[in-house]
Symmetry: C3
Subunit: 339 residues, 3 copies
């Protein structure tokens, strides 16, 4: 819900400027509840689950902006995940930041935030990073398992900088994060261009991921192109740490049809470890349909299949463990509602 | 606080329809702070406590509705308990659901929610399920100890259906919940009728409560009848699991006097276990007074006494442990405030 | 954000009284995001951190008031700390209370709340209780380490009473808290006078701090005097428990200059333990500048130095451990934003 919008509407109704200062300090409450039924088959074991992020992660948040005059503004953003299946919640680990922004000079942002390298994974694949069809299932960390580096999605202790608007479609951000004496020191950046239906971006990062100083390195390049009802998406992503390397490419499409969207995606993952000779691939095929009941509410269903090479360990997370080489498949249908 | 109400009031003042869309997306912030002083005597041990749910459980929540047109609406409800005695909170384990509702076809609700069998315990006894006088002290699980089945009050991973309004006073709901490969698979339903001062409902459920597939079964029938200042309440409740069985009957009354209500309740509990020959009873007598300072704020006090048969183990929870056959008593006085 | 303010503004615009009841039930959402970069040097070890409370502790809260008529009102206050560096949050351990207030008779407040003895530490030193320059670094518990008694800052299970306004500048409060069968039983009070630029208060408390019944005793006297751009602050604080005793005195000043404030503080701490002959002192010197971008948003920086006598153990918390006698220093610069 956007109180700011409401107050602007009211101010308009009343034809009054007396609300100007109140508007500047409004807090917006926002969130997503996304719950569905999910069926995962890993190897020969099937599990029925209630899913909590088929389209987007369930969440609640509070954010606000203060106009400081002279093109300067301050703002905050607090956002935490919700597990509506079991009533989980309580932290602000999706994002917890304070910002100082200038129209001309850009935004300085401090706190826990998304890493620059995350955004290409999220934006340039047909299913984002949620649900059984998400490319992230085969991209995060190695074997698609996140947590290899704690900066794959977000970073603690970050100081971020964002380019201002008005650079002819060029956008960009950089982030450094303190390791605070342990692991997790992050340095990364992202630069992109959006215009005329095209959106393309490159990102790179380097995380000091172990006490020994080992680096977790991510490089990715992604893009999308929208023409009428069709949106094409593509991503190339490389992760490295000491002897391990994983390369992903992802292609996908959206096709708008009536009040719905058909989504399809193919993900290829190739993982190697020179220390033990491991070398295997995984492939994910996903197709789904989103039926929009309004801008805020949708019904959706997704079907996804992961095929591993002989010793592959890729899978759709949440189900039973697999033995190397086994396949993984998933189906889900749910309700997405945002506020 | 109900922002929706406020916005409707404002729209009325302004005589304007421009707010229609804003109203549809409003979020309501609501909650309860209920804190009191409590004295529990179990056997010969007395404990003084600060209580947090003498009338209702302290809580905070966010909920909203979106009108989708054509009698259809979507909504969410997030609600978590608060422990104001120690500042506890943070989850949404009271309820975390997303709903799709039709005026004609009823409501589909997904997430963590109350079980159908819970509602008869809550609605058809004079002290609800809170405070020293609550019938739930002798009803939940076996020996009044909840947690025997994790579906006594609520269920994770649930899919629920609610009958629509307009069925001549008949109401009803059904729920299934996934066990997700462990315990807690729930199937239950409730059907009732409300009209002309009468409210009566029957509910039944079945929870796969152990890995071995043991069932926790609940059946209950309750009712209330309101005539002028008097409301009479009654409940019959049976819980079973393998060799254990517990039967409860509860009778109670409310008597409205000035801006207050006198409450009285009698609870009988009979627990048997054919495996070890355990067979005992417990009785709870409670009387209390609620003084309403407004619709949102009350002062209250309750006195409660539990008497066990020779080997009985029933008690008012929160105090010291008892040895079988000992009695338990409680007093509390507090402030209830809702927002 | 204060919705009440907004609604009053709207009611004024509309010239309407229809909103009166809605205003009475408004909920205020409020909070602070305060994030900075911090460099701590303890002994010869240096650590870079992202700080979360350079000016005030990052937090979110909800509070509201209900006018019950006849000078009586009810209210609630929920407030929990946020760790924006890692996205921590979720409880209401800063304050979780329900109140019944009378214009003439004062306020009765139940729940988790600040102890009377805390307020003199917080109000009568130039840096409050936050950041590298805070007097609390050398005051809390013994060796500046809080947690010696869990009532140094707040108390669980409290019942508090506050004197009403209109006593000619005299203010005061008293608190008792149940130990609930374990440790932490608190009895304390504070009395003060504010007027003509002067603010002075005395507080005393007694906490049953161990199962053996040992008492943690706090006595403090503090004051401030404001004259034009200058505010002088002073505090004398004594903590005792069995054989341990700690005495602190604190002097400080604020100097308002343009849209900023220069802050300076000196803290002396003397700790003795008659059981083992420990006897040492610590001194903290701090200086800082706050630049106010608005009433809600500031930039700040603070420099602080702690010097220990030969066996002293005082330090600025958050960095590496020190060996007795080593010094500790800290620098921080950050953004403070409230909503």
């Amino acid at each position: 819900m956007n109180f700011q919008v409401k107050l602007l509407a009211m101010a308009a109704l009343a034809g009054a400027s007396a609300l100007a200062s109140a508007q500047q300090s409004s807090v917006t409450i926002f969130g997503v509840l996304d719950v569905g039924v999910q069926r995962l088959k890993n190897g020969d074991k099937t599990l029925n689950l209630e899913s909590i992020d088929g389209m987007q992660t369930s969440r609640i948040g509070f954010r606000g902006q203060e106009n400081l005059g002279g093109g300067l503004s301050a703002g905050f953003h607090l956002e935490g995940a919700i597990g509506p299946d079991v009533g989980a919640g309580g932290d602000w680990r999706r994002r917890a930041t304070v910002s100082l922004s200038s129209k001309d000079a850009g935004e300085l942002r401090l706190g826990r935030d998304y890493t620059p390298t995350f955004w290409n994974i999220s934006k340039f694949n047909a299913f984002g990073t949620n649900g059984v069809g998400a490319a992230s299932n085969l991209v995060y960390g190695f074997d698609g398992v996140s947590g290899t580096a704690k900066t794959v999605i977000r970073s603690d202790n970050s100081v971020g900088y964002f380019l201002p608007d008005g650079l002819g479609g060029v956008y960009g951000q950089a982030m450094v994060a303190a390791g605070e004496g342990t692991t997790g020191r992050y340095v990364g950046a992202r630069i992109g261009y959006a215009g005329n239906g095209l959106d393309v971006a490159f990102a790179i990062s380097d995380t000091t991921n172990t006490a020994a100083g080992d680096k977790f390195k991510v490089t990715n390049l992604g893009g999308s192109y929208t023409l009428g009802p069709v949106k094409l998406l593509g991503l190339y992503h490389v992760s490295k740490q000491t002897t391990r390397e994983q390369k992903n490419y992802v292609v996908g499409a959206h096709y708008a049809i009536g009040s719905g969207v058909i989504r399809a995606s193919y993900v290829n993952a190739h993982s190697r470890n020179s220390a033990n000779g491991q070398d295997y691939t995984g492939k994910l095929f996903a197709v789904g349909y989103v039926h929009n009941l309004s801008k805020r509410t949708s019904l959706y269903t997704t079907l996804s299949q992961v095929n591993n090479s002989n010793t592959g360990r890729f899978l759709i997370p949440g189900g039973s463990a697999i033995t190397p080489g086994q396949d993984s498949s998933g189906f889900e249908a749910g309700i997405y509602h945002s506020f």
